[in-house]
């Protein structure tokens, strides 16, 4: 390095105050703040009740958050493109009722029923994508509309009735099977969700597609001028989200022991909550799935910790509300980062 470049590096190093340094760190690693929150909640809840850290309690926590954590992966992808998906729950229910009805009522083979159910979810996501890219409607409006449409189709198709696990083939219920790993008990569904986090995390951080997702979310016009096929990227994101919701539908059947059209009513807000607490910016272009996983686990940690501490669950609502506002304020602060 030459003297000039050393001087230049020195110059940029000296300007940072401690607050700015934290700002830069959080800017580069958006998952750091949810990690800190998770560590703090874990310390507090394990101090309140020693059983909180027991393997069976932690296993239960993961099982409880698996479906929302799965849906939140798709939600993260869409929010990274500066969109929002309000049809998460309705696509999942549509996919779930398709799988279960085909298998239980139409006697379709389990594997085929799952594939068709997932294909329906991909198709639903693709439809959202077409409306966003080709008809140029804002994602909020598109998914508000399809929320009603997909819910209605799911209810009309299934007749609004739940289908219990004893009427379903083993393959559909397989996601609920529990597997012992040392003292921990995972379900197939939990393992699938963790694998999915690995795959999507890899795609976002290690592939060109991931770069393009961030670029489209951060500045769509610059992305277009830089040669990114923005519409194709958006379509792929909405379709991939649909695929993920389809898998979540399968996992939900295993978790609940039934396919129920009103099983996951809070999925929309829960998935957005996980994404926001996880440090992904609602303005797009910043964040990632590691934070989202932490965000989903934080919500589960409050549920578990407060019930073990014998505290009213309303405190959980309050705490999550505060966390959401803190997370978004933090994001605003990080966005103002300057050289």
């Amino acid at each position: 390095m030459t003297t000039t470049s050393n001087a230049a590096a020195e110059f940029s190093r000296r300007r940072l105050s401690p607050a700015q340094r934290i700002q830069h760190l959080l800017h580069a690693h958006p998952w750091l703040s949810p990690l800190l929150i998770l560590v703090l909640t874990t310390i507090v809840f394990s101090a309140l009740n020693g059983r909180y850290l027991a393997p069976n309690a932690q296993s239960l926590l993961l099982q409880q958050v698996a479906v929302v954590a799965c849906l939140a992966i798709g939600q993260t992808l869409i929010i990274l493109t500066a969109g929002i998906d309000l049809s998460v729950g309705s696509i999942t229910i549509l996919s779930m009722m398709t799988m279960a009805s085909l298998a239980a009522n139409s006697k379709v083979n389990g594997g085929l029923a799952i594939l068709i159910g997932i294909a329906v979810a991909v198709g639903a996501g693709f439809l959202n994508g077409i409306l966003v890219t080709k008809v140029n409607l804002p994602p909020f409006i598109v998914t508000l509309g399809t929320l009603s449409i997909f819910t209605a189709i799911a209810l009309l198709y299934s007749g609004g009735a739940s289908i219990q696990e004893d009427r379903l083939p083993d393959l559909i219920n397989w996601t609920g099977t529990s597997i012992a790993l040392g003292p921990f008990r995972f379900t197939v569904g939990v393992i699938m969700v963790l694998l999915l986090y690995g795959v999507v995390g890899f795609a976002l951080t290690q592939t060109a597609w991931g770069r393009h997702v961030f670029a489209v979310g951060d500045d769509p016009e610059s992305a277009r001028l830089s040669g990114v096929p923005t519409k194709r990227v958006l379509l792929s994101v909405y379709s991939a989200a649909g695929l993920i919701y389809g898998l979540a539908a399968w996992i939900q059947i295993g978790r609940a022991g039934a396919a129920s059209p009103n099983g996951i009513v809070d999925a929309n807000l829960d998935s957005i909550t996980a994404v926001v607490i996880g440090g992904t910016s609602l303005f797009g272009g910043r964040g990632g799935v590691i934070g989202t996983l932490l965000g989903a686990v934080i919500v589960g940690a409050f549920t578990l910790g407060l019930s073990l501490a014998g505290v009213d669950q309303q405190w959980r609502l309050l705490a999550i509300g505060v966390l959401i506002i803190v997370a978004v304020s933090l994001d605003q602060w990080i966005r103002r980062v300057k050289a």
């Binding site: 030459t2 470049s5 597609w209 670029a215 277009r224 001028l225 040669g227 990114v228 910043r286």
Partner: protein, 275 residues
């Protein structure tokens, strides 16, 4: 059409040592390009010819249609009328990557860099390089290290020393540094034509000189350069020919030897007609 007509300036106005450039067929030609934005006429039938190894400057007042012209040439806008020819063949650029694929790189006035991505990612945006072997071909993994190294070389070639870390997000750079990143990207990847829309607007004296030197180097390497600038000394320093845009159409073409800056500005503002 004769070379004279295409050049739009007498060959005598071109210095003797540069005339060979105009013996070949033009590399990029546009005929009668037009586009409207609602009731605003952005471009009203503009034609130009660009030769290999020449720098064509485009000057004009604010809103004269300079940016619109180069956006129509590079696929950012699809012109409503007119044709574009590359090496004699008619081409249609529907999106910017069509022009890029044809070897035309552009620094747009709004820079078109992604603030949240780092410098290397911006340089390689939409032309990412993958790792060798199955990691790249099967898992489609990016060669981040390689891209960073090559990005560092591209930035160094521009002589920018205040940018050290290719992993730094572009939003943490100053306006001039961002502009340098955009220019470095175009210079590194342009294989036939490099289009620069006010590339020195935010740059310091030293950085501006680097960009002008880079433009000369590109011309030396046989590329064709279109330079839009409001800085007349810069234009008169590097341009072979100067196209004057006025109110959406072309008011004429001059050369630095046929007209001085004052005359150029007079034509640009309409105070004087080109005879």
């Amino acid at each position: 059409m004769t070379t004279m007509e295409r050049l739009a300036v007498p060959l005598d106005d071109i210095p003797e040592d540069r005339r060979h450039v105009y013996e070949a067929e033009p590399l990029l030609s546009a005929r009668n390009l037009g586009i409207t934005f609602g009731r605003v006429v952005g471009l009203d039938g503009v034609s130009l010819d660009l030769y290999q190894g020449e720098v064509l400057a485009v000057i004009g007042d604010n809103g004269a249609g300079k940016s619109t012209l180069i956006k129509c040439l590079t696929g950012a806008y699809v012109p409503e009328t007119g044709e574009i020819y590359l090496a004699g063949n008619q081409v249609t650029f529907r999106v910017p990557q069509d022009a890029r694929a044809a070897g035309i790189e552009t620094v747009y006035q709004q820079l078109a860099v992604i603030p949240a991505l780092d410098i290397a990612s911006n340089l390689y945006l939409a032309r990412e390089e993958r790792r060798k072997g199955p990691l790249g071909s099967v898992l489609r993994m990016l060669d981040k290290k390689g891209m960073r190294e090559r990005a560092a070389t591209a930035v160094q070639n521009l002589g920018i020393q205040t940018i050290q870390n290719m992993g730094q997000a572009v939003e943490t750079l100053s306006g001039g540094q961002r502009q340098s990143v955009a220019v470095a990207r175009a210079a590194a990847f342009g294989s036939k034509v490099v289009v620069l829309d006010e590339p020195t607007a935010a740059l310091g004296v030293k950085e501006s000189t680097s960009v002008l030197n880079m433009i000369k180097q590109l011309r030396e390497n046989g590329l064709a350069v279109i330079l839009i600038s409001h800085n007349m000394p810069h234009v008169w320093e590097v341009a072979d020919r100067i196209l004057i845009q006025r109110l959406g159409s072309c008011a004429g073409v001059i050369t630095p030897s046929s007209h001085d800056m004052g005359e150029g500005v007079a034509i640009m503002t309409g105070a004087r007609k080109l005879t």
